[in-house]
Symmetry: C2
Subunit: 207 residues, 2 copies
DNA sequence: TTTCGGGTGTTACCTCTGTAACACCTTTTT
DNA sequence: AAAAAGGTGTTACAGAGGTAACACCCGAAA
């Protein structure tokens, strides 16, 4: 995203206050749920996650964003621009805040920037759609199978490295860690998979 | 959306095939899940719903769109433009298909159109976010309370008119109709609500 | 080295909710 | 008016998964 912004005007806007740079510490909250969204935010460095936290404190991690990605893009031009979920810096994070009207002006002057923006926003909407498609109202076993098939394809191997903790995986699925653990054990007993703390191996390809 | 399209060029594009008009019968499928999205679609008349249908045939109605709304807007500029869910005409429906590149050209020439588009796409993304926020991985009772609070605010009354059937409500929540029915009965027995086939009344405002 | 925090694995218990089957009612079609 | 189609309410049953409690393991800090 950043690459598509014209360098010169970026400097300019930073001086006039249309753009600004803000830093957040590890695990600090960038936006609470229901907070109003004023600016588009471009991640300069760090890791940002979007999660739903319910009254009981249960977590559902909805999306993760890294350097050069944007936050609030699906929101900023809405008639009702309030963050529906909590936005947190998972690592120390620096972001560039871009004023909405300035952004719109830039779009009109700079079609490639608009194009990039439209792509990113569309891809983000798909993440939400996928979340609903793959994890919502499915059994834990179905969620696990969805996950394994996706990772197996991505890593091109039946032996899947878990690059996240099982705890984080449970949060991605929106289930209890113990329930995930229980279901994995069941699948192992049935001879479908084997696993340790860091990886899972698919024994029956068709699961 | 349609109002923002310049009349003259619309006629033109219809003749050159960049735009086209298609009709669908009641309950016919407009797009299957995983089908590629080629065009932006503007609903000229009718009712379109987006739903997830799992292998067992369970429904989760994700969104409903009516006249002048758009379908595929969150998708069309994605790098991976495949419909994540099924799109169905719930009533006889006529849509205007708009070619992607033609649309982009129009955006660059017509900022108000771009603005309208960005607003609609943002609002649609919020629908998905809300779906996750209010209905995903919650108990049926929590879903009911979310729904009642929202409708009570919207209708500005504790006596809520259900303008949809309970069957449709169950599909919106992604639960079985009988389970919804059972939970409503429980809440009635606890003195929280009263209801009939067409309306629900909140007896304890704090539920 | 010891200590401590956090992830992992396991299990008994119990609640929630999907399933299936039925009766009843309303609306639409014939 | 009769028949067909579809929504509504209810309940016994069974399975999935949340809760809580515990043991174990590993890596970082002291």
């Amino acid at each position: 995203m950043l690459k598509s912004l014209p360098r010169e005007s970026t400097k300019n806007y930073l001086q006039t206050g249309k753009f600004s740079i803000v830093s957040y510490g590890k695990n600090s909250i960038i936006h609470f749920a229901d907070e109003r969204c004023h600016d588009l935010e471009i991640i300069l460095s760090g890791k940002v996650i979007v999660e739903r936290i319910d009254e009981a404190g249960n977590l559902l991690t909805v999306a993760e964003f890294y350097e050069d990605d944007i936050v609030g893009g699906n929101l900023i031009f809405s008639q009702n621009p309030y963050y529906p979920m909590t936005v947190t810096a998972r690592l120390p994070t620096t972001i560039l805040k871009v004023d909405k009207e300035t952004l719109f002006k830039l779009f009109c002057q700079n079609p490639p920037l608009l194009r990039t923006y439209l792509e990113i926003v569309a891809d983000h909407a798909l993440i939400l759609g996928d979340k609903i498609k793959h994890y919502v109202n499915k059994t834990i076993r179905e969620s696990i199978i969805s996950f394994l098939k996706y990772e197996s394809k991505k890593q091109n191997s039946r032996h899947i490295e878990l690059n996240i903790t099982k705890k984080a995986l449970a949060e991605k699925m929106g289930v209890q860690r113990t329930s995930l653990s229980r279901e994995l054990a069941k699948m192992r007993n049935e001879g479908l998979i084997s696993y340790d703390a860091r990886s899972i191996k698919i024994l029956k390809p068709d699961l």
